[in-house]
């Protein structure tokens, strides 16, 4: 347990550093993924098996998509030459080191309360009951937020709206799409 903790914690932090040290965008993305997987391992170590595995599932998908966007929006994505795209580096360094010192002092000085209660026998079941029970409002808020995000991101990112596809009066018999789909529209 202790060994696993140290290995995973070190991996999480080292790969986290890698995100801002490596030159290749693809490697940066997968370094972030490795950091996430290490954190998922730590979460598993604490007994939260469902959440740990879900973090892995989500982050693999998210990072692969991220890699696509990275390469779309970055110059020099393959890291063929070193690059530096920073602004206010000393200030950022000072703020983040200061934040870490502040957090660390707090963590070490606070008199943490004692552990109360014991984990439920089936944590996944407990989480499900909680989300469908007393935390229902949280769950519904999350659902609506996600739905709003889907709508908002499609609206923001779409290049050709319905007037481009169906004409100024939206009365074109067939949508004018550059690529046809498989359902024959």
């Amino acid at each position: 347990m202790t060994v696993a903790f140290w290995v995973l914690a070190a991996a999480a932090v080292v790969f986290g550093f890698g995100v801002f040290r490596l030159n290749s965008m693809a490697q940066v993305t997968f370094s972030l993924l490795a950091s996430f997987v290490a954190v998922a391992g730590l979460v598993l170590l604490l007994g939260l098996s469902y959440l740990g595995v879900v973090i892995v599932l989500m982050m693999v998908i998210e990072m692969v998509i991220m890699a696509v966007f990275m390469i779309m929006y970055m110059m020099n994505p393959a890291g063929l030459m070193p690059m530096a795209m920073y602004h206010n580096k000393p200030g950022a360094m000072a703020i983040s080191v200061g934040t870490f010192v502040l957090l660390a002092t707090g963590i070490l000085l606070v008199d943490w309360p004692r552990r109360t209660g014991a984990p439920a026998p089936d944590l996944t079941f407990a989480l499900g009951r909680s989300l469908m029970g007393e935390q229902m409002l949280t769950m519904m808020t999350l659902g609506i937020t996600l739905f709003a995000t889907i709508v908002a991101s499609v609206v923001l990112a779409t290049g050709r709206g319905r007037y481009d596809r169906l004409g100024d009066d939206l009365d074109a018999p067939r949508a004018d799409d550059p690529l046809g789909g498989g359902v024959g529209r």
């Binding site: 972030l32 934040t99 870490f100 290049g159």
Partner: protein
């Protein structure tokens, strides 16, 4: 394996992410920094749940919320990046400083 060690690791991840979010010029790299900060939050939530109040499910629910926040952040962030790039070929935060007072 103590609460302090877990929280220190989380604080480390948070601080690295904060550095990235503040210092990177590229919008995409900035979002990597934000993700790394949320990564630290996940770890801290799990550790607090386990070492302080394992009887409840609030810690687990908090992790679900943070994971959702990550997905929302990424989707909305890339949508904005796409929109701003399409409008004026900007992929750096410094190029989108119109609202700077």
């Amino acid at each position: 394996m103590t609460l302090q060690l877990f929280l220190l690791t989380a604080a480390g991840l948070f601080a690295i992410g904060l550095y990235g979010a503040l210092s990177q010029q590229s919008i995409v790299m900035l979002m990597m920094g934000l993700e790394l900060m949320l990564n630290g939050v996940i770890l801290a939530a799990a550790a607090c749940w386990y070492f302080l109040a394992p009887g409840g499910t609030e810690g687990q629910v908090l992790i679900v919320v943070v994971v959702t926040a990550m997905a929302v952040e990424m989707a909305a962030g890339f949508a904005v990046a796409t929109a701003i790039y399409r409008a004026r070929q900007v992929d750096m935060t410094d190029g989108a400083a119109d609202l700077k007072g």
